[in-house]
Symmetry: C2
Subunit: 245 residues, 2 copies
DNA sequence: ATCTGTGAAGCCGTTCACAGCG
DNA sequence: CGCTGTGAACGGCTTCACAGAT
């Protein structure tokens, strides 16, 4: 139903693998860092190393966006930054509301990585009257009662849920009913949402538990931090690729 | 309670897929929740639904740990909680240090999900003299100079890095040199570590960027639930040097 | 000569569908 | 019969290795 003119997306198509999408932000960050250092051109090998992946994967990933490199040379940093940004939708601004202004919500409100990537925090909401009215990172915390109004008035398209677990599903239902279709959930619960709504979850304790699992099999249990590392089956660290500096 | 403590890792072996490991904490949480509600037995269908996966996946995942279900009946909640906890290494305590006590570090220090899962925060460290000495969640922030001593004295086995990006690699090098082989990194940089050291990364802005990617192709761009928006295709942005830093 | 872009192969994870056991 | 446990089929992602462009 969307009549779109295909310019240079003949080959890029609209089928970018999810795994690739998840890595594009990492490439983008590495590119920004190169840009700040005044680097104009970069090879797949160099960029891959800066991003912590191998070069074949990087090239394959970029090939899903189009042919933006020059054989025999590499990629032009600035151009690649633009192409990835556009693909991720970062050439437009996204309006975000943060719901739940505890320690975590506060941390998120003050996180520089949002504003610098085209995410504009347009509202901080909480249910606690002791918190409502406080000024956090230059914004005044508003009452959760205003949630629906605020979403409509300010055009919020992404909701960040940083409430206690018990409140999360209720808040989620409300933002979805108000038209939001993208949710970033920090509460330790599985949110259920209708089709068409995207939920991504960040769970601090799950990450620690995964680390504990691997730590446990390295040697003899906790407290065993002696410098004799690097044993175990070859696949032990396969989910993180070490990079040389 | 537990029928027989037989060593049925003939089959379970030591080869649990990474994807399965990443889901075990989710199952564990769902099981705890069932436990609180007094449920004694659960089918793969019910547990899968509570965890947000399908039942075939859940059964396959659990089969990697052993045969802990009863055909025709389901799984005994308490027994399964124990088996998963043991597999993840949560039957022992893990000593954690949090480095960087900004907003995020503070949020982590006060996060209830740690203590309740066998993670004991044994130190909060920061480089800022204005922060050192402060009391956070019942702990006194210590100076980063004491990092190595503290790791050794208290047997820290997992380091949580919540510093600014620029400081993260340096801190990482120090904790690794001090013998830590598991790192949870919240700083927006790719850490390089020697083989045998596990790094897991949590990146708030990457998650938002992935959401933005999907949101972008749902319809016409941000603010889409606003009757006024949604005019043109996603590619409406022209190629200008519209890249923000 | 060099480095990108990509078929092809291999690996891993998910899903299916049913055998096996209570 | 009901539900778990699992071989087998499938699909997607990663890696290899080289064809192809500059």
């Amino acid at each position: 139903m969307t009549p779109r003119q295909n310019r240079n997306r003949d080959r890029a198509d609209r089928g970018i693998p999810e795994a690739t999408v998840a890595r594009l932000p990492v490439y983008l960050r590495a590119l920004h860092s190169l840009q700040e250092r005044g680097v104009a051109t970069v090879s797949s090998e160099e960029l891959a190393s800066a991003a912590g992946v191998n070069s074949a994967k990087l090239r394959k990933d970029l090939s899903h966006l189009g042919s933006y490199g020059t054989r025999g040379v590499g990629y032009e940093v600035e151009y690649l930054v633009y192409q990835i940004s556009r693909e991720l939708g970062l050439t437009q601004d996204w309006v975000v509301a943060i719901i739940g202004v505890g320690n975590l919500g506060r941390a998120l409100a003050g996180y520089g990585g949002f504003a610098s990537r085209g995410f504009r925090v347009a509202g901080l909401l909480d249910a606690d009257d002791a918190i409502v009215g406080q000024e956090i990172s230059g914004m005044t915390v508003e009452h959760i009662d205003r949630l629906e109004d605020l979403i409509a008035e300010r055009g919020v398209s992404i909701a960040v849920i940083a409430t206690p677990a018990a409140a999360a599903q209720g808040v989620c239902d409300r933002v979805v009913a108000a038209g939001v279709t993208s949710v970033l959930n920090f509460a330790p619960v599985v949110l259920s949402v209708p089709d068409g709504v995207d939920v991504r979850k960040v769970d601090l304790s799950i990450e620690l538990q995964i680390l504990a699992f691997h730590e446990q099999r390295k040697a003899g249990g906790p407290g065993d931090h002696d410098p004799r590392a690097g044993e175990g089956p070859p696949g032990t660290t396969q989910y993180v690729e070490a990079v040389q500096r």
